[in-house]
């Protein structure tokens, strides 16, 4: 069991080392994004919440080619119609409603559109913040797309108002009052200016377009880069309230720049590498976990897919692990960001470096063949004489059509990591016990490391254990794996691990037990021997039990170190805990029930005696008032005393002190009143008797 677990951990380690290198690989958008979109955007009763979220969901589905429109429009269209018809809707509401409508195509008559258009035109006149312009201009653009003739009346003025918010470094401010400039706002501003240009009744002045182009170039100077060559935009000042994060910011800029490039005449002077770096940034995110991130990623990639600046082409490896055993081909895909075919081109492997020798390339200038059926460029690796190991491959793309060179961004040389794996041959494995003195008889056994063996060796502290073997790659070279460990484990689970070093074409270890007596804590007895050989490029990595060795070590001296306590098996934590025994107070000795009842009866006896005594004294009730009112008071008086006493009984049985005192307060007042009346009546009658 334990060994299996260990083997499993070992395999997991190899897998992890493979997947780490795999994570850096950039792959185009594929079906995984579709299913992620379907999982993230889940409509509740045919609606996604706000219109903004609905638009994000619908746009993502539209780009990824997922059919969802029909079931959404049923619930969403009434909301859109209501927002467009309402006089309370802000420009933001109208903008989102028009955006959603542009995808769903709800039944809205042209009069409504015209009303909304004139409302937005009016809003533009009063607008003073960037977002106001953005929503109003964006809304007008969507109305124009519906076939309504919309012309921005004062395009020049609007352009100036927006441009007035720009800063010298290409960033924009949200409004004239705010001091901070923002990259995110720059993206919005560019998108809005693009809208103004396409809504204008006549062509805007070329010099104005030129100024904005300069702004964009300045903005791209502030682009930031990660180590893997991906580029992104981020805010210069991280302000907690308006900070959006690199993904939102980059998406905003890409949206703005591509929209502007579409409407502006002439080319934008942006290096194609930067567009490719941005595309790689969005792709390197993989599959985002939130709806907003997924929308930003997919929408900006769709902007990049058809932009007029330069269309990024992504070079990727479908598989980064190439097995020599199964004669894999080195396959390379060149596609757009959404995985569609690239124009005719040739891919060549410019250089390939082995991870051990980073300066001298093992391969140079290999042209890949093109499989037009699968649109894959491939290269057979067997004739290349590539040995197992980790390689850095450097590719270059050359487009066939020289006209395409300006349209597409290939990014010059692309460097990718790849593993070449193969089966390693294990040779000349020998194990044996050597005598310590020179010229001892060498009795080395042959060992088959392709399966577990059950050796049985014995040695004392004057002898040595020797193990040696060779590892040979498929091409006949020596192979040096990452991990070669020999492990000796005593019956008491005390483990000793030795790293085996390679020397002169073979791995060899000689354990002189005399030097290890102290390290072995003088523990004689049976030691299990295990050998671990593992490498990411070795297809037959193994963990073998070789058998055991019976060690006879000298008695420990008095001051010898004790073996360290073995770690507790982690699975014991899930086992049953030790039972907890509670100590309770012993119950008090109680008398038998009959005795207590007898005494209860006995305590009642004096009361009987008291009654008998009263009768013998001739007590009577003649003093009880005869007339009605005093009699009533007298009776009330006695009833009051009885009530108080029974309240005490209730207090004893179940009430608490506060309830009792509250009730006693009322009863007491009553009793005092009634008692006073009764007793004063008695006193007056006695006084009368006396006087008479």
């Amino acid at each position: 069991m334990a060994r299996n677990l260990r083997l499993l951990g070992f395999l997991a380690l190899i897998y992890a080392s493979l997947s780490i290198s795999g994570a850096a690989v950039i792959r185009p958008i594929n079906e995984a994004h579709q299913s992620a979109a379907l999982e993230l955007f889940v409509p509740i009763n045919g609606s996604f919440g706000s219109l903004e979220e609905t638009y994000e969901a619908l746009k993502t589905f539209q780009i990824l080619g997922v059919e969802k429109g029909a079931e959404i429009s049923h619930a969403t269209c009434p909301v859109v119609v209501e927002k467009l018809g309402s006089s309370l809707s802000t420009s933001k509401d109208l903008f989102h409603a028009l955006r959603v409508n542009s995808i769903l195509g709800c039944q809205i008559d042209s009069r409504t559109f015209e009303d909304v258009a004139s409302k937005l035109q009016a809003l533009i006149k009063d607008a003073n913040s960037l977002l106001d312009f953005h929503y109003a201009v964006g809304g007008l653009l969507y109305i124009k797309d519906q076939g309504i003739n919309v012309i921005l009346s004062d395009a020049d003025g609007t352009f100036h108002s927006i441009k007035a918010l720009s800063q010298s470094d290409g960033r924009w401010r949200y409004d004239s009052n705010s001091a901070e400039s923002s990259t995110y706002a720059a993206g919005i501003a560019l998108e809005t200016i693009a809208g103004v240009v396409s809504l204008a009744d006549r062509k805007l002045d070329q010099s104005k377009i030129g100024i904005v182009k300069n702004d964009i170039v300045k903005l791209f100077d502030s682009i930031k880069s990660y180590d893997d060559g991906t580029l992104y935009f981020d805010e210069k000042h991280v302000d907690a309230s308006e900070y959006k994060g690199p993904l939102s910011t980059s998406a905003s800029v890409v949206r703005g720049v591509t929209a502007f490039a579409t409407v502006a005449s002439g080319r934008l002077n942006i290096p194609s590498d930067k567009m490719l770096g941005l595309a790689k940034f969005f792709l390197s995110i993989g599959i985002p976990g939130s709806t907003k991130d997924l929308f930003n990623q997919i929408e900006s990639l769709s902007c990049l897919k058809n932009n007029r600046v330069s269309i990024p082409l992504i070079l990727s490896l479908p598989s980064t692990v190439l097995s020599l055993t199964s004669k894999d081909q080195l396959k390379v895909e060149v596609t757009t960001v959404f995985g569609s075919a690239a124009p005719p081109l040739t891919v060549s492997l410019v250089q390939a470096f082995h991870s051990d020798s980073k300066d001298t390339p093992v391969l140079e200038n290999q042209e890949l063949q093109f499989d037009s059926e699968n649109t894959i460029h491939y290269l057979d690796i067997i004739p290349l004489k590539l040995d197992v190991g980790k390689y850095t491959l450097i590719f270059e793309i050359s487009l066939h059509d020289p006209e395409n060179v300006n349209t597409y961004a290939t990014g010059g040389r692309t460097s990718l990591m790849s593993f070449v794996t193969g089966s390693i041959k294990i040779d000349k494995a020998e194990i044996g016990i050597l005598e310590s003195g020179a010229g001892g008889s060498e009795t080395l056994q042959k060992l088959d490391l392709s399966r577990d063996s059950t050796l049985s060796l014995s040695a004392n502290h004057l002898q040595k254990l020797r193990l040696s073997f060779q590892l040979i790659t498929p091409l006949g070279h020596n192979f040096k794996p990452h991990q070669v460990f020999l492990k000796l484990r005593h019956e008491t689970n005390v483990e000793h691990i030795f790293v085996m070093e390679s020397s002169a074409r073979q791995f060899k270890i000689t354990l002189d037990f005399l030097g290890f007596v102290e390290r072995f804590y003088y523990l004689s007895g049976k030691y299990k021997i295990e050998l671990t050989v593992g490498d990411a490029a070795m297809e037959n990595s193994f963990l073998r039990a070789l058998g055991h060795i019976e060690l006879d070590l000298p008695e420990p001296p008095e001051k010898a170190a004790h073996p360290p306590p073995q770690p507790v098996d982690p699975y014991l934590r899930f086992g049953p805990k030790q039972e907890i025994s509670h100590i309770f107070r012993a119950p008090e000795k109680r008398p038998p029930k009959e005795l207590s009842l007898a005494f209860l009866a006995l305590t009642l006896l004096p009361f009987v005696g008291f009654l008998i005594g009263l009768m013998r004294l001739g007590v009577n009730l003649k003093g009880f008032p005869s007339s009605t009112v005093p009699a009533a008071f007298s009776m009330l008086f006695h009833a009051g005393i009885a009530a108080v006493l029974s309240l005490y009984v209730l207090f004893w049985l179940k009430l608490d002190l506060f309830t009792t005192l509250k009730a006693l307060g009322f009863l007491g007042v009553l009793l005092v009143f009634v008692g006073h009346r009764t007793l004063s009546y008695h006193a007056s009658t006695t006084a009368k008797l006396k006087s008479s």
Binding site: T603, G609, L617, G618, V619, I641, A683
Partner: protein, 136 residues
């Protein structure tokens, strides 16, 4: 016979005789005493007799509880204390009532017995509220 011995003898005779007489008179004295006590007590007003009866009743009940405690042990000690103190307390209050009601006591001549009785009732109610609280 030695004169001193005679004297001694006669003395001892006298002593014995005297003792015999004394013994006889003690028992008759006790009888007389009790009789005079009873006759004197018969003259006590009835309402005082009732109070005396009540005091005796309370004390006897307390004694029974103490006996029970001696037989069984004092485990619910607060209950035992409550029971005994309830009886003793009410007996003490009854004695106070008797002192105030007695006409012979000149000290309380101005105090009407109704007022004393009201005091008795009030004190008993307070006493038993405490007792009930302590009973547990």
């Amino acid at each position: 016979m030695h004169p001193l011995g005679l004297y001694l003898t006669s003395f001892s005779y006298q002593e014995i005789e005297k003792k015999l007489r004394m013994a006889k008179s003690t028992s008759s004295d006790a009888q007389m005493l009790i009789r005079s006590l009873r006759t004197a007590y018969a003259a006590t007003p009835t309402n005082l007799k009732i109070i005396d009866l009540y005091v005796v009743y309370a004390i006897v009940t307390a004694v029974i509880q103490v006996v029970y405690m001696g037989v069984v042990g004092s485990f619910p000690f607060n209950s035992f204390l409550s029971g005994v103190l309830s009886c003793v307390g009410t007996a003490v209050l009854a004695v106070c009532l008797r002192i105030q009601v007695n006409k012979e006591n000149k000290e309380f001549k101005d105090l009407p017995p109704e007022r004393a009785y009201a005091d008795f009732i009030l004190c008993n109610l307070v006493l038993h509220l405490v007792i009930m609280n302590f009973l547990g």
